[in-house]
Subunit: 199 residues, 2 copies
């Protein structure tokens, strides 16, 4: 059976889990204490030299890192990933946007505040990251003012990728009140068959 190494509460780890639930793929979950440093110790580094969760282990033992690569692998041939062409490229565009322009700010500020309790101590670097997090949310708001989902009118793994940390942005003190299109989209994601939010 597929095994997913992950940390509960991590949006990146939630992504492949929810995709497998939506697609009816059975898997086992192995909890890894990423905050406690378990991903940077030898036993885990032997599985993933990049020292991060999630990590997916296929039934035959082969390993795959990077949450969004997992989403592409799992969703191939399903309605969650359009066939090759422009629409698929837009799904990938949003997934690379997520890892470069959104996660490093929206998820990281949440991590600093919610997990590390550094709201006051790291006020300056939080303020700097917050500007970029809101910039990413503004890009999403513009897109979601035009289409029901990020890559068009159909729910896809791009929505899973961006939902992950957007729906817990408040735990990083991000205020979604001025982003009505994002808030409606969060609700549309939650209404998908089999969808389970992280909280």
């Amino acid at each position: 059976m597929i095994r997913l190494y992950g940390m509960t509460g991590s949006g990146n780890c939630w992504k492949p889990a929810v995709a497998m639930k939506m697609l009816g793929i059975a898997f086992d979950w192995t909890e890894i204490d990423s905050v406690g440093g378990e991903t940077r110790r030898a036993p885990f580094l032997a599985l993933n030299p990049n020292g991060r969760v999630p990590l997916l282990q296929l039934a035959d033992g082969r390993l795959l890192a990077e949450s969004n690569a997992m989403l592409c692998y799992l969703a191939e041939g399903t309605p969650l990933l359009p066939p090759p062409g422009y629409e698929r490229a837009k799904v990938l565009e949003w997934m690379f946007f997520e890892q470069y322009s959104h996660e490093p700010y929206v998820a990281t500020v949440r991590f600093w505040i919610h997990y590390l309790g550094k709201r006051e101590e790291w006020r300056d670097k939080i303020a700097e990251a917050r500007v970029k997090g809101y910039a990413a949310l503004a890009v999403m708001e513009t897109a979601l003012g035009k289409t029901a989902f990020l890559a068009g009118e159909t729910f896809s793994i791009a929505d899973i990728a961006l939902y992950a940390y957007t729906h817990v942005a408040d735990q990083g003190d991000f205020d979604l009140t001025p982003y009505p299109a994002i808030r409606s989209w969060l609700a549309r994601c939650e209404a998908q068959p089999g969808f389970e939010a992280m909280r």
Copy 2:
């Protein structure tokens, strides 16, 4: 004809350009002064609300952002991207690794030093980013000690994605001397038919 909006010297912009050259796809290049702020002004933001190059415009006018999404789109059905399955997933794993764990450090330090001239002024934040850049290079070194290319024995768009900023890492004062597997791999990339390095 396809149009690529990009900045000369940007590894992210080089990626789709070299892929199109290798695949024999004709395109026009529109130079965008990203360092001078052109990507953050209204005319460009109307094309890409995320305010970044590269930006690909298809012959029919449709737009695509994110260099690695472009690579996937352009390489579909060619030897540069394996068919759906585990090998393709590994290509994507490296491309997400590139945007999350490599580019923000290796490319960013180069940008601060080579373009902005901040080697002394930003010494502390450069030192912090350098640790993470070397960590990414170490992950590559481990992988390239086992296989000829990043995702296996075949050159793919994962190699284009990682070559981009690795081959100019010295412009960010990264020393590749202790990374012999990376240095051999750079030479193997350069020996690919039609391959043109950024410099």
